[in-house]
Amino acid sequence: MDTITTIGTIIRGDREIFPPYLYEAYQSTRRRAPQLPLIGVPLTISELTGPGPAISSVTPEDADLTRNAGTGGEAIGQRIIVTGRVLDEHGNPIPNTLLEIWQANASGRYLHRRDQWPGPLDPNFLGMGRCLTNDDGVYRFLTIRPGAYPWKNHPNAWRPAHIHFSVFGPSMLSRLVTQMYFPDDPLHQIDPIMNSAPTEKARQGLIAAYAHDVTEPEWALGYRWDIVLRGPDATYFEPGEGKQ
């Protein structure tokens, strides 16, 4: 991104991967970013456990966003399959963990009272889904490709098409909320949220790949996106304040 912005130094986790709390080009960070050093603490049973394994109530219909509005109708838009694996940093699959996703509809509008820009709503699209990974760590959603949409961060600001993901994984360390983007989108360059990821490596990890082997003939385009979650080995701690 061309814009020069103030980037804070308070970062949780690996600073080559995770965004700083303060990234001024994304205006909402200015009043919400912690300013004091994060506290390094030992890992205990409290952090090495987490809610992931105890949450499992989903139905197969939850993973089909094209029909889960329950209207009997189908959402309008380019039908897509989004699939991939949830892994730890060593490449081991993380089975039976909950993913929750939400997204704008094909016109770039969320079904949310605070999204009032004049993109049309789709009565057959709620824009939310969930599923559990299988024994191989694989998740799979059927949805429609979300549209880009304007926001008020700066003049003529548009967010690139994206799907929000919330993932638990096995422990408190693995909890992740992030966004998946689509390949070859010119809006990536001008999006301060995506560009808050500090390195090219980190940003590339947020972009799904078109996958022709996932694409189903006469039905839907396929995208593949793997998610790699933190584990105890990816955490650096020293007791005391300010060790980052």
């Binding site: 949780r12 909402s28 889904g129 966004q179």
Partner: protein
């Protein structure tokens, strides 16, 4: 050494509530009639650097049961497990920036060897403007074992009070107040976890 590149974090944004806070995903009430332990209600607000309540945040908690056992396969302790008590809570914030949970006071969980931790609840906050969630712990201000808790001791003395929930009522359930300040004066001590 990491083999794979970790997936980066991005903000939860302003539009998560229909998904993450739909009725069957919200978990303000962690207890059932048969749950063991002292019933407590936790209330607090999430505030920004201007002291303004954040009405589009989400707070998640994770805690042990009253016996000090986590409902998780990695907790191989011998304290009784109560399968119906997951220990997970999720609350949105309302127009006043406030969240709440009805739960039980957790038991003490082990640290190393014979050493035990003071009762605590893991707290995670997500919101628009937070590119990565923040992580902290709630401790109970009236709990004598705080004095030698190994995690609380990592927090500089001047900031420890930000992790102490204060008892506001003696009724049943007892109400503990725990405000979370993301920035500025009285900024909550967050962890690099």
């Amino acid at each position: 050494m990491s083999v794979l590149t970790l997936t980066s974090s991005q903000t939860v944004g302003p539009f998560f509530s229909p998904c993450l806070l739909r009725p069957d995903a919200c978990r303000n009430v962690l207890v059932e009639p048969g749950t063991s332990g002292e019933r407590i209600r936790i209330e607090g607000c999430v505030l920004d650097g201007g002291g303004v309540p954040i009405d589009d945040a989400m707070v998640e908690i994770w805690q042990a049961n009253a016996h000090g056992r986590y409902n998780h396969p990695a907790d191989q302790g011998t304290a009784p497990l109560e399968p119906a008590f997951t220990g997970f809570g999720r609350s949105g914030t309302d127009e006043n920036g406030c969240y709440w949970f009805e739960t039980i006071k957790p038991g003490r969980v082990p640290f190393k060897g014979e050493q035990m931790q003071a009762p605590h609840i893991c707290v995670t906050v997500f919101s628009r403007g937070l590119l990565n969630h923040v992580v902290t712990r709630l401790y109970f201000a009236d709990e004598p074992s705080n004095i030698d808790d190994p995690v609380l001791q990592c927090v500089p003395q001047s900031r420890r009070a930000t992790l102490l929930a204060r008892r506001e009522s003696e009724g049943e359930p007892a109400v503990y107040r725990f405000d979370i300040v993301l920035q500025g004066e009285n900024e909550t001590a967050f962890f690099n976890l």
